[in-house]
């Protein structure tokens, strides 16, 4: 059974459905790349999985538990989100930004929290270097790292990343992909929304393509790579 399994998901804003009858899944130790052009519904899908949206119908099963059941929109613990747009709190320090991730994941002991932070700092050395810097003073890439660090310390087994590479230099993106690969190898499920298909393919195990609110391709990465041209998918 998959760690995260979405089926029949229809969601949107107000009366407008932005995604229709979407099915997708994510496995432990795999990177699932979610690609498609702007407005294809990728962010809507992530937000409905993360319990941020109200108008959601269908089923989201995380770790064997239906999270949409009974109208509850609670985020399943064990699921962390790295939102679009380098989401750091500008007046909070890096440390405070990251530590909020622990809070978001639910109550843990001080020792456990310290341990998680240490592990995250291991993956992302920047966190330790800039621990007391205000979020507002960081560069775009650094903010993205803080945002990822915050997801890591929540103790999540699945991380949803919404276009983490936007606006970053190719070198930074490459470094970031390495971090994702490491996390994948450590057994996490990673859902990566990317417009940069080739980049995503360097680490993806599965590729899901969305267009106009529907999933049009769901295949393994090898199968996807063997396609002739990508233009017609967009």
């Amino acid at each position: 059974m998959s760690l995260l399994e979405v089926s029949g998901l229809t969601a949107g804003y107000g009366s407008h459905a932005a995604i229709h009858d979407v099915a997708a899944r994510a496995e432990r130790g795999e990177v699932t790349a979610l690609v498609g052009h702007n407005g294809a519904g990728k962010t809507t899908l992530l937000n409905s999985i993360a319990g941020v949206l109200r108008n959601v119908r269908g089923s989201v099963v995380f770790d064997g538990v239906e999270t949409l059941r009974g109208g509850s929109r609670r985020r399943p613990s064990g699921l962390a989100m790295v939102p679009q747009g380098m989401g750091v709190f500008p007046s909070l320090t890096v440390g405070e930004n990251v530590t909020l991730g622990v809070t978001a994941g639910g109550k843990v002991s001080k020792e456990e929290a310290a341990e998680r932070i240490k592990v995250a700092q291991g993956y992302l050395p920047l966190l330790a270097e800039r621990w007391n810097e205000r979020g507002g003073r960081l560069s775009g890439g650094q903010r993205q790292m803080v945002s990822i660090g915050r997801a890591l310390v929540s103790g999540a087994s699945c991380i949803l990343l919404d276009e983490p590479s936007v606006g970053l230099s190719p070198k930074l993106v490459e470094d970031m992909m390495k971090v994702f690969a490491t996390l994948r190898d450590a057994g996490l499920a990673i859902v990566l929304v990317e417009q940069n298909v080739k980049q995503a393919l360097t680490i993806a195990d599965r590729v899901v393509v969305m267009k106009a609110g529907r999933v049009i391709v769901d295949s393994s990465a090898e199968e996807f790579s063997s396609r002739e041209s990508l233009w017609e998918l967009f």
Binding site: N47, A50, G51, V52, R75, L79, A80, M81, P83, G87, F89, P90, S91, L92, E96, T99, L100, G101, T103, A104, R134, G136, R150
Partner: protein, 285 residues
């Protein structure tokens, strides 16, 4: 010399305004409500204190703190949250808040009469150099400093405090991360309401108390917290003290009854020329 005397008085008054204003600021961060019902909290705290202090000052203190906390909690639970659940606009929330203030102020005047209430000035005054300072003023300044430092410590050092500051920065991000916004709102309303208690009690000692004081103090708290810069506690404190000082020092030039009007005009002018406030919060970009 008189100017210096007025300056000290102004700082004391401003310190009390600051206590009222930081409560409003905290509540605005988390609920995005202009909590004008803060005036009701003020009245509830002050009248509870006045009616109990004959029995025991300690009992009165505990009683008014409890009353304020319960009212703040109830406001969130029974007014703000139900309205927010149906996604109404800020104005709906504001009107509901205002309605609550009207109800509370008038229930109090039915119960306690609309005339002024006073407390016997407890300690008299001291002479510091050429300055005459009342003990109440000194207590006000000390209490404000202690409470504001305590609040600062809470916001910097506790998990919930950091969460509240995060709310001031970016409410949507707090939601996206799955942080418990409702809990923060509850904490902010209780904490903000409790912070108004010392202001209510000390102001009653200095100026007495009427049911009309609620709207006045709430307006002061709101305008001060906005003029200070949304998201900035330091800004609120600075503009509160500025208001207190302007109010008092202006009596050198105009009749005392103009004091608040002059102070407000200064804050309004600040808002016109510097809409982001005295101390704007760091930009998100």
């Amino acid at each position: 010399m008189l100017a210096l005397q007025l300056l000290v008085n102004g700082i004391a008054v401003g310190a009390l305004y600051a206590l009222a204003a930081v409560g409003v600021a905290l509540i605005f961060w988390t609920t995005r409500v202009f909590h004008i019902a803060h005036g009701a909290t003020y009245l509830i705290a002050a009248y509870t204190f006045v009616s109990l202090h004959g029995n025991s000052v300690l009992l009165a203190l505990v009683g008014s703190t409890l009353a304020a906390a319960v009212f703040g909690w109830g406001m969130n639970k029974f007014v703000y949250r139900p309205i927010q659940r149906s996604r109404e606009s800020f104005f709906t929330l504001f009107v509901a808040s205002f309605g609550t203030l009207i109800i509370v102020a008038n229930v109090i005047s039915l119960w306690a009469g609309s005339g002024p209430k006073a407390l016997p000035p407890p300690f008299g005054r001291v002479q510091i150099g050429f300055l005459q300072v009342t003990w109440v003023a000194i207590i006000a300044i000390v209490v404000a400093v202690v409470f504001l430092l305590g609040l600062q410590f809470f916001l910097e050092k506790t998990e919930t405090g950091v969460g509240l500051r995060a709310m001031a920065d970016d409410v949507e991000l707090v939601d996206l991360l799955g942080l418990n916004r409702r809990r923060y709102a509850t904490v902010a309303l209780i904490l903000g309401s409790v912070l108004v208690v010392p202001a209510a009690i000390l102001t009653t000692y200095v100026q007495g108390l009427t049911p009309q004081a609620g709207l006045r103090i709430a307006t002061i708290a709101l305008i001060v917290s906005i003029a200070g810069g949304v998201g900035s506690l330091a800004g609120a404190v600075v503009s509160a003290i500025l208001l207190g000082v302007v109010e008092n020092v202006s009596t050198l030039y105009v009749n005392a009854s103009w004091g608040t009007a002059v102070g407000f005009s200064v804050l309004l002018a600040i808002l016109v020329f510097r809409p982001s406030g005295v101390i704007p919060r760091p930009s998100a970009t």
